[in-house]
Symmetry: C2
Amino acid sequence: MKRALLVPVCISVFAWLPLFAQADDAPLGFFSASVGAQRDAEEVFLATPAGAKARRWLFQLTEEPHVAGTPQEKKVAEYVRDKLTELGLEAEMVGYEVFLNHPKHVSLQLVEPVEEPLALMEDAVEFDKDSTAHGMFPGFHGYGASGKARGQVVYVNYATPDDFEKLDKLGISAEGRIVLARYGKVFRGLKVREAQNAGAIGVILFSDPADDGYMKGDVYPDGPMRPPSAIQRGSVQYLSLQPGDPSTPGYPSRDGAPRLGRAEMKTVPSIPSLPIAYREAEKILRRLGGPRVPDAWQGGLPFAYHVGPGGAAVAMEVEMDEGLKPIWNVFGRIRGSEEPERLVILGNHRDAWNHGAVDPNSGTAAWLETARGLAKAVKAGWTPKRTVLLASWDAEEYGLVGSVEWGEDRAEDLGAHAVAYVNLDSAVTGDEFGAGGSPSLRDLVRQVAAAVPDPVHGGSVGEAWEKRLRGEWASEAPIDLSEPDAAFELHLPPLGSGSDYTVFLDHLGIPCVNFGFSGSYGVYHSMYDNFRWMDEHGDPKFIYHAAAARFYGLMAMRLSSADVVPMRFGSYAAALRDNLRDLERLSIRKVRGADPEAADEDVADPDAEPAPLKADFAPLYQALKSFEAAGLDLDQAVDDLIDRGEGGKAAATNAALLAVERAFLSADGLPGRPWFRHLLYAPGTTTGYAPWPFPELAEAVENKDAELFERGMGRLLAVLEAATGKLEEAAAAAR
Amino acid sequence: MKRALLVPVCISVFAWLPLFAQADDAPLGFFSASVGAQRDAEEVFLATPAGAKARRWLFQLTEEPHVAGTPQEKKVAEYVRDKLTELGLEAEMVGYEVFLNHPKHVSLQLVEPVEEPLALMEDAVEFDKDSTAHGMFPGFHGYGASGKARGQVVYVNYATPDDFEKLDKLGISAEGRIVLARYGKVFRGLKVREAQNAGAIGVILFSDPADDGYMKGDVYPDGPMRPPSAIQRGSVQYLSLQPGDPSTPGYPSRDGAPRLGRAEMKTVPSIPSLPIAYREAEKILRRLGGPRVPDAWQGGLPFAYHVGPGGAAVAMEVEMDEGLKPIWNVFGRIRGSEEPERLVILGNHRDAWNHGAVDPNSGTAAWLETARGLAKAVKAGWTPKRTVLLASWDAEEYGLVGSVEWGEDRAEDLGAHAVAYVNLDSAVTGDEFGAGGSPSLRDLVRQVAAAVPDPVHGGSVGEAWEKRLRGEWASEAPIDLSEPDAAFELHLPPLGSGSDYTVFLDHLGIPCVNFGFSGSYGVYHSMYDNFRWMDEHGDPKFIYHAAAARFYGLMAMRLSSADVVPMRFGSYAAALRDNLRDLERLSIRKVRGADPEAADEDVADPDAEPAPLKADFAPLYQALKSFEAAGLDLDQAVDDLIDRGEGGKAAATNAALLAVERAFLSADGLPGRPWFRHLLYAPGTTTGYAPWPFPELAEAVENKDAELFERGMGRLLAVLEAATGKLEEAAAAAR
């Protein structure tokens, strides 16, 4: 499901730090007495991942389309379990019955000005055996509703709340009409929700060539971008409201669990929707009447877009086969020797909308190479202190279902014992390493990335990554004239949603990392996301698959074997301060956008939009200072402990370190979406993918809600104070 | 020639000022005893301009294409002179012989992979009598060189210095090749210069549909944007180096003046160039091999652009008829009663690349309506104190030739006596009023714009303008967190070049204003810039032509009749401070962009790019404070003088006020382009159109030249001190 998760550039105005760690620096968290054995084990591990082997895994994993809930997907689950077993790991399949849908019948017709069926399947491409309809579902939406709709079409750009607001200003209503919108910007389920709320009777989503087609590069099969017939399938769950099985919201889909009926589910749409290719969208869009679109709504098809209505009407039919279907999470385990109950989890999903060569099985191939490398290290004598759990999730594509149900199922255990969760969704679409996640894992991520060689460009993948982020900062970060000497500091971009880290971070407060290698990739969720695409365009030598496995396994080896869990809290406040400054800028922008003359008017209009919030962020900046001081003090205490090599204090220190992130959880969760319990991070309610740091404040600024801001500020100050206390406890434990 | 001149948004961090003047406020600079008569005269004037009349003027002015140096253009000059005479004004035609070129033979052929001629003329459109080749020159470039070229094509985006730098980084050379580049961003002559400097043997410029074609709206004849066959003609003079007749650089083209030969001219290219339409460009571009373009280079044609070379070769032939040809400036005069030697100049050019319905004759139609209105006011008894000079320039399209030669010819007189120059190029392409110019005229412009009714939207054109600028500020102005309460202050966007104000402002130090109404306009410099376009799309009722005439004439009436010349200096420093802050941000951006690690390297590479300039702007901010205080004090002194109505002090005060802007001139001019003598404003050396406030500092930041920065700073401090002194002298004169 992964999509542009690593985009937000994290910036800072604090002094630029030299690369934290050279590859040959002592690994974070290890007493000097432990370093030698760890180095030996890592050497065995690092020598293992191989491109040829990853290529072989991928070839087998992507033999057939394997949508969650189908027999094909169960076959792939069994394949993965068997491979783990062959590698010598403890392996098991854990099943749930969850609510899913598969298309029984879908059709889309242009009915005015001419009758013409519109294609819901891709064209075959010569020399690409996987580009056939065999085993593929036609274009449909996961959790899309059954239904028929027939009517005039209106084009609403990306179908964001802003777009619908603009539509309104144009004096055009979506009421009783079919919304045509392009993919991009926000999670597709939120587009359907906005359209449904605006009174639309159906939704058609298309991939515009300006977004991932020819305007971004040559199209498949000549290049990696989206060809004219390619369809983006995908889920239309309301992801930012709550992920997981919509029939068991907030509790696990165990046998006998109470179930909501389709009509009671709050996180799925009730109007039908379909995805189409740009070649088909053009047939509608070129005919639309009505006003010319606002400039920003123009896409890449070669004519001036119009909003409609008028000029084109369509009829759509969607009939779903929906109900409880089996899904299968697969686990492999390397038991820890000292703290076996503590878990370091490496998760990747396995289900795909298609053959899934990129999404997600490039990740699965790398994950299997990771497993193979770790198994080799174990055979060579490595024993982790903590348990390493390799997880292969099912039904991620529908709404992170496999990971969410398992996370809800194991919430107590995970809350108490999980050390960290490292996610890998699509592992490779190109050569650019990227990672996002919890600030406490930044230094580890930098150290590990610096230890993984870049197989093409030389140096380490971390070096190239840091250079790229610094360059983006230099060209894009806002400039405050009061701080002309502000310099770059690398922070991990915060996580939003769209992959399986969500339950671990947002629901359970477990520190998370998500990573991958990215490049030009336009065939997302289409029939062309297949083995040939990867072999020709994505990673022809599969060497970035091997690099991904190296990063992944090294993360696991450090997290599971370090004497002191390798988390550092000294930069956490700086990362949050950057996020807060961005939010403050946004709130100032909104205040500026308000008409200054409006304030002068004597007569207040009760129906008028409330004025933007004049938000006071000062208390939070202040609280971050204490949090920062405590974090720096803790890092120092841990450094001293490691210098002393005092093993007796490690267990208590580790327990205290794990408690810090949990302190950011609130039992009540976020307003309107209590499942999201982390008060620092959540996906934006209107973005789905992109994160909103300080989600309650962000929502208050967005909705001009002073009361929500006040309340959110109070809750944030409370959790920050609690977390500061946890930092102090950890420092005390280490001393 | 006008193109996007009013784009830069002027922003400020100072308190938002209420609309300075209501329509019924006392006019700036008038003693209360003079207000009544002025009001009466203005009423007569304002009642005169009429859409139907403007439509009639435009119909006649655009009967035939009238390129400078042709008999058709002389006919239009005579028409304008005769109309002025008929209106009862003193009218005359003043001729010069200047170097011009007309195409004798042009051709462009695709020669590889297939032979195919490429069109250099637009298609005819049914129902548009002016869309025929009759009387039109084919696509050619004013001041383009004669020559033949044949070779491989490379695509270089907008052909800016940055684009050629990027080409270099791609490892591709333009040497010995034909550069294909799209119009936009910078003045076209600078594109040809960059290509020539890069070793190209020929240049083809095309209009990309992403810039002014279908991606911006429906295309002509259905809409106002550029259709597939439309060609942008235009001059390729090196406009930012020096405008005017290239055979007499810096001195007037009087009879017997010494002349440079074509080969000695420094401001025109030596390699051939041609403009083409996007339908023709597609035939080359779609075939280009080589790497895919950098993302920002992709245009709006429906395929992935490639850089080349390889895939397509072309042959071009350009044969020019070039040499001295006659041009004609036309003047109308209303003599001043008290200070007849002092001139208020209203200038508009008349020559066009085509029929010129927008560019420039929408301006000429409005200018004639202005003349008609002023003549009526005179007949009703109005006598200006200062002389109003209406100027109709020729050969602007080639390089502001008519205005520059006249300005050079009359430099001494103008330097001593010109009060202000108000420019109108294309008057109307839509309904959005915009004005730019000298900060001392801001308050007058606001007052006059507030007095001109918006004929469609109600309210005044000034109101809509200020609201739009405030909105742009709110959504785009950078945010400094140290100034969260910064508010909008309207400043006139500074002038760059591309129209006839250039000689007056940049060479002679005369305060200038440039204005117009803009909207969707894609047929610039093509055959479709004709009467039907305006009648259908631009201003179907010609009511914005009439509004332009009202603004224009009111500016003239206030400037020429006020007791104290209506300039105000209190906000001049704030406008400059905004510009300076933008420049400072740019310089910080450049410092950030430098690799921080590079500074650590021990071995200095003598060939390496110099590090960006760490520029210290503090002394200039400091000097602006004194300038600001003196400006505010002067405004107060003038206000007091007007309150007292003390006529005896007006003449001396006026003389002193006129001296202020001249204080910014430097006899040496700008580095490398001594004709440009204003040290605060000039067109960017690499932009042509867009202004570089503080041009010497801007160039230093751009070129990383610390010495130039030092020197420029010194010169700026000196002129600011001198100007501060002039403000003090004026205040003393008023007291």
